[in-house]
């Protein structure tokens, strides 16, 4: 364990948009090859943490580094899978053309190289959609669209995979296929998943980071009690957060 390289190193990180701190004194690290699930109530700072990791925001205080460097410098090593809701389903584009976007940093002008096309085709193959390459985006099912987005992230040939609520708005049967893909990927690279989905947490996560203004780390497997407390306590957490928004509340989180 100790010899493993650290992929994410976060020390005393604070961030705010306006006056109140959204994240305060956040510290955690993720060693190479581990997968971390980020959970927590809406408005608790999950998306903000994600944006900080992507280098789209800058830490207010403290430090956050990926592979030992500032986040925006190593963006090219991250494969990012955004929430699938944000896409225009009418957009006229094929699956393979979306996946090729993962190679944009290798493209100066004109067409993609043969090598880029091969990497993109492999990425589609890896998520089990090799024969869907030329299908229009609008013809794909919700689960297929989600896997195309993962293939696009894989086409970046990433060292770290970052997923934002990958199973939100995806039906159950699709979710199962998707989880299989994720379980396979987990063996190959470091993964960070923001999720509300406890199946992902139990199947994919090595540990869980509960983000609610401050963070708390749980190791897996979570006991039934902990899960219940995290989730049944959510309303209460929301309420408490509003009531005293300067103190992170993790009353539902158990220390390990």
């Amino acid at each position: 364990m100790a010899e493993k390289r650290i992929v994410v190193q976060c020390d005393d990180l604070c961030f705010r948009y306006g006056k109140p701190w959204v994240l305060e004194d956040v510290s955690f690290k993720v060693p190479e090859g581990e997968s971390l699930c980020i959970i927590g109530p809406n408005g608790g700072g999950k998306s903000t943490l994600l944006k900080l990791l992507l280098g789209l925001l800058e830490p207010g205080k403290g430090s956050l580094s990926l592979f030992g460097e500032p986040c925006e410098k190593v963006r090219s090593r991250i494969g990012y899978v955004p929430q699938s809701m944000q896409f225009d389903r009418m957009f006229p584009i094929s699956a393979i053309d979306i996946v090729l976007m993962g190679r944009l940093d290798r493209l100066k002008v004109g067409r993609f190289s043969k090598e880029c096309r091969a990497v993109a085709a492999d990425a589609l193959d890896e998520v089990g959609l090799a024969d869907m390459a030329n299908r229009p985006f609008s013809d794909l099912s919700g689960g297929e669209r989600q896997r195309v987005m993962i293939a696009r992230a894989l086409a970046c040939e990433p060292d770290l995979l970052l997923l934002d609520e990958p199973t939100a708005n995806v039906d159950l049967s699709v979710e199962e296929q998707f989880l299989e893909t994720l379980v396979e990927l987990r063996k190959k690279m470091t993964i960070l998943v923001v999720t509300h989905d406890l199946d992902i947490v139990s199947l994919v996560g090595d540990s869980v980071l509960c983000v609610n203004h401050r963070v708390h780390r749980h190791s897996l497997p979570l006991s039934g009690e902990t899960i219940k407390e995290i989730y049944s306590g959510r309303r209460r957490l929301e309420h408490d957060r509003r009531a005293r928004h300067n103190h992170g509340d993790h009353s539902a989180c158990q220390h390990d």
Binding site: S76, D88, F91, P92, I93, S94, L100, L104, G110
Partner: protein, 285 residues
């Protein structure tokens, strides 16, 4: 339109050979059609039709200013085309800057640019010395007024647009589809969005030449909108839209010549009907 006599289609073909302004009109129409299909597809998929419309209206400001200053200071190089290009690019830059960098609502600035362009254009034309400006030809378009220098300018502008799209096609598509991901791949999303607006602006100048300020948007959007009913591949939509724009422009010119109808309105009428039919045929999903 009165200058054109009633004539048959064979006479139109004859006229192409004999009458220079018809030849110029056809040439300008064909060359600019190439850009309408390509740029129209971006405008439809990125949903920036109203930005294109605002740019079209701001062009009147540029035309008015160029007429005023060229007459007052006797600047022969300051043609309406030059004024139109400058005004279109300026409007695109302002709309882009406001939507990327400030908190103002985008539709508000679109409305402001739209009306400001028209107002300044009308004011400049009112105060311009010399003979009254033929406002109607700018508002409703008159492709038959195309001169030799217009054709040259059209070819140059179309070449610029097609070259830029050819070089940056994948980046433009990526920025339209998922601006954030493009940025994470090291693409300056803002820069390419502004490039797209600039390309749209130049296209609007060409369109205003063909169809006039009010009808120009239809000619940009309708071929691409019709084509996108039949294909879900960007480049296929572009090729189909380009083909449609070609048919509309060349066919519209020929038919309106043959039956003595104003060209711009006739083209837009046909394009709208075809779009309506395509919608009825393929509208359901």
């Amino acid at each position: 339109m009165e200058i054109i006599p009633r004539a048959s289609m064979t006479e139109f073909l004859h006229a192409i050979q004999e009458v220079s302004f018809i030849r110029y009109a056809l040439l300008a129409g064909i060359v600019s059609s190439l850009t309408f299909g390509v740029v129209g597809t971006f405008v439809v998929t990125r949903r920036i039709g109203y930005i294109a419309a605002a740019i079209a209206h701001s062009i009147l400001g540029g035309i008015g200013a160029s007429i005023y200053f060229s007459r007052v200071y006797e600047l022969a190089w300051l043609t309406p085309m030059v004024g139109a290009v400058v005004a279109a690019l300026l409007s695109a830059a302002v709309i882009g800057w406001v939507s990327l960098r400030t908190s103002e609502r985008e539709d508000t600035i679109i409305g402001a640019i739209w009306a400001f362009g028209m107002a300044t254009g009308l004011l400049f034309m009112h105060y311009a010395p010399g003979k009254a400006v033929n406002l109607e030809s700018y508002i409703f378009g008159d492709i038959l007024l195309t001169s030799r220098s217009d054709v040259i300018a059209t070819v140059v502008l179309a070449a610029i647009i097609l070259t830029l799209v050819g070089l940056f096609y994948h980046k433009l598509v990526a920025v339209c589809f998922d601006e954030e991901f493009a940025r994470l791949r090291g693409i300056s999303s803002n820069l390419y969005y502004l490039l797209l607006l600039a390309i749209t602006a130049i296209s609007m100048v060409l369109l205003v030449r063909v169809a006039g300020i009010i009808l120009s948007l239809a000619l940009l959007v309708l071929p691409a909108a019709t084509a996108s009913r039949f294909s879900r591949q960007m480049w296929v939509v572009m090729l189909m839209a380009l083909g449609l724009a070609l048919v509309y422009n060349a066919g519209g010119l020929a038919v309106s010549f043959a039956i003595d109808t104003p060209t711009g309105p006739f083209i837009v009428f046909v394009a709208s009907v075809v779009y309506g039919l395509s919608f009825l045929l393929k509208g359901k999903r």
